[in-house]
């Protein structure tokens, strides 16, 4: 009996370790690589031999990489801001205002989010050109917002629906307008959902590659993923693995920090319906 239990425990933790190793190993290997230079790169090392910051200095000292980080921050920040604003107002309507075709609209919104990026790339390119925002951050902000909104609207609508109707009605009796209801009554209750969807929007915008590559032409407008891909070595034949890994680590760390900060909120946000009067 005892032994059986012990065996089960061991099996359980072995499985956990396997999963963790699978999930974390690529990132760990990136970190190890980012500290190696020269020929060290081509030996398989599972432990860092020495902490060599040369790659980091090379990346951060480069002319355009810090600029790319600022671009990415600005674009991701704006995307989160715009999509949350639009999603909150839209989901209020979808969750609370009775109108014809509401269910259909909601399904359409979800369907839109299923199109692969490449399918809309050409159309979006025309739109970007038409608006005259090619090679500016606004091209990315526009396209990321378009791609983030369906998911954000969907999640927030689910949340908003779960908020007790009577609270809204109490506010109406108190003389609150829809805007006051959204900002002063609903938003404070929607924090977990906002943090979750906002963070996902941020990560999406931060890591996006295809649009960022297509909609920028000059080096100074590039976002981080594009900048990393464009890092070039001493010769055309050499791929600069060291700096690439260092750059990847640099841009991943902010995400991890954000997730850790908001961890509890995210859990609350993912288990929808957590907000009860």
């Amino acid at each position: 009996m005892q032994q059986h239990k012990l065996l089960k425990n061991i099996a359980f933790y072995a499985l956990v370790i396997v999963i963790v190793v699978f999930a974390v190993f690529p990132f760990y290997y990136a970190i190890v690589t980012s500290f190696s230079t020269g020929s060290q790169l081509f030996q398989v090392n599972y432990w860092p031999k020495a902490f060599n910051w040369a790659n980091y200095e090379a990346v951060l000292g480069g002319r355009n990489f810090p600029r790319s980080i600022m671009n990415s921050l600005f674009i991701a920040g704006c995307t989160v801001g715009f999509s949350l604003f639009l999603a909150v107002t839209a989901s209020y309507a979808l969750a609370r205002v009775r109108f014809r075709g509401r269910g259909l609209l909601l399904m359409t919104i979800l369907a839109v989010s299923m199109f692969p990026q490449i399918a809309v790339l050409a159309g979006l390119f025309e739109l970007v050109r038409f608006l005259g925002i090619f090679n500016t951050p606004w091209a990315m902000i526009l396209s990321y917002t378009i791609f983030t909104l369906p998911f954000t609207v969907w999640v927030l609508t689910t949340f908003m629906r779960d908020l007790p109707v009577e609270i809204e009605e109490a506010a109406i009796v108190d003389g609150a307008s829809p805007w006051v209801i959204i900002t002063q009554v609903f938003l404070p209750l929607l924090w977990p959902a906002l943090v979750t969807t906002g963070l996902l929007a941020f990560i999406g915008a931060w890591n996006e590659f295809l649009f960022a590559l297509t909609f920028t032409s000059s080096e100074s407008q590039r976002t981080v993923p594009v900048a990393i891909a464009m890092l070039s070595g001493a010769s055309a034949q050499e791929i600069p693995w060291g700096p690439i890994m260092a750059a990847s680590v640099i841009v991943t760390v902010p995400l991890i920090v954000l997730v850790l900060i908001f961890q509890r909120k995210i859990v609350a946000g993912l288990t929808a319906g957590g907000v009860k009067g």
Partner: protein, 335 residues
């Protein structure tokens, strides 16, 4: 402070008629209770008066002013919801002050009114707490306090006690009755499916059934002179006994009604009806006997004080003739 008139008020949701034409005149300062079974349209009627729902047709007036198209906040109403509906993220003080803040009242005035209402409801020590830190009864008081602060013309309650446990329910019922007496000018409309609440609180009761008013009157009127079989069965606890067949024919009607408290146990052979005692409930102050007299259901008889009747024994029963209710084929009373 308001007299409320409803003239042929109807409400439909799409093809479903929920309120099918209600005429009602609620007097200034009156405590009016809407009572009826679940789904009869009580809440809907209350929400029409509050303005949370628009009426489909008909007229509604507050103090002779047509309010059909007035939003809730312009009607001078305050509402207490079944689930209390406090703002979860606001402290009790802010919950109570929210309406006046939105109305852009002066800070000092808001403060005075909130503290006054809090004192009246004995929740002044709770003002700094969040709703989740309060018990059910305290939340209910805060909800009432929030309504009080707005100094409404009309106070609306939708089943405010149904989430409280039995003891608290009686206590809060008393509070609401006291509140009504201390605010003689304020009209109150109270929705409940519990006829005991209705009988104890109301100046007048409106009985609803399937979106129509069945009868409007004082508790005594409804108890003594029900206008239909439905009202007779709905008002009073335990329910009125209904007898059909030969029992009714003997009195020249389709259905004969007699309340349990209006039947006397008499000496053997002296009563009109007799039968075997199937079951007895002793509540201390009262006895309920369930007697099989050959009708569709056992007859319930209520006797005050102690009674020594063994189960299975035969009893003779005499209804008080002036308390008999006779109903015809349309369930209308024969008087």
């Amino acid at each position: 402070m308001a007299r409320i008139e409803l003239k042929n008020v109807k409400k439909s949701y799409g093809a479903v008629d929920v309120i099918k034409g209600v005429d009602l005149d609620i007097r200034k300062g009156e405590f009016m209770v809407f009572v009826g079974p679940s789904g009869s349209g009580k809440s809907t009627l209350l929400r029409l008066i509050s303005g949370l729902e628009d009426i489909t047709s008909g007229e509604m007036r507050f103090d002779d002013q047509l309010v059909n198209n007035l939003v809730p906040s312009d009607r001078g109403i305050a509402m207490v919801f079944q689930s209390y509906a406090l703002y979860p993220h606001m402290k009790v003080y802010d919950n109570m002050a929210f309406g006046m803040k939105l109305a852009k009242a002066e800070k000092a005035e808001i403060d005075r009114r909130v503290r006054e209402a809090a004192k009246m409801l004995q929740i002044d020590h709770l003002l700094d707490r969040l709703p989740k830190q309060l018990s059910g009864g305290q939340r209910q008081r805060v909800a009432i306090g929030r309504a009080l602060v707005r100094d409404p013309r009309v106070f609306l309650f939708d089943e405010p006690l149904s989430n409280l446990d039995a003891g608290l329910r009686v206590a809060t019922r008393l509070e609401i009755a006291k509140l009504h007496h201390s605010m003689e000018d304020t009209t109150m409309i109270y929705v409940t499916h519990d006829q005991v609440e209705a009988m104890t609180l109301a100046d007048r009761i409106a009985v609803l059934r399937d979106g129509l008013l069945e009868q409007v009157g004082t508790p005594a009127e409804l108890y003594e002179r029900p206008n239909s079989l439905f009202v007779a069965g709905f008002i009073g606890s335990p329910k009125m006994n209904f007898l059909t067949g030969k029992f009714a024919e003997a009195k020249g009607c389709k259905t004969l009604g007699i309340r349990p408290e209006h039947i006397n146990v008499v000496a053997e052979g002296q009563g009109e009806w007799s039968g075997e005692v199937l079951h007895a409930e002793d509540l201390g102050s009262d006895n309920f006997l369930f007697v099989e007299i050959g009708a569709d259901e056992p007859l319930i008889v209520r006797q005050p004080g102690k009674l020594k009747i063994a189960l299975g024994s035969q009893v003779s029963l005499q209804p008080r003739p002036e308390k008999l209710h006779r109903f015809d084929h349309n369930d209308a009373p024969i008087r």
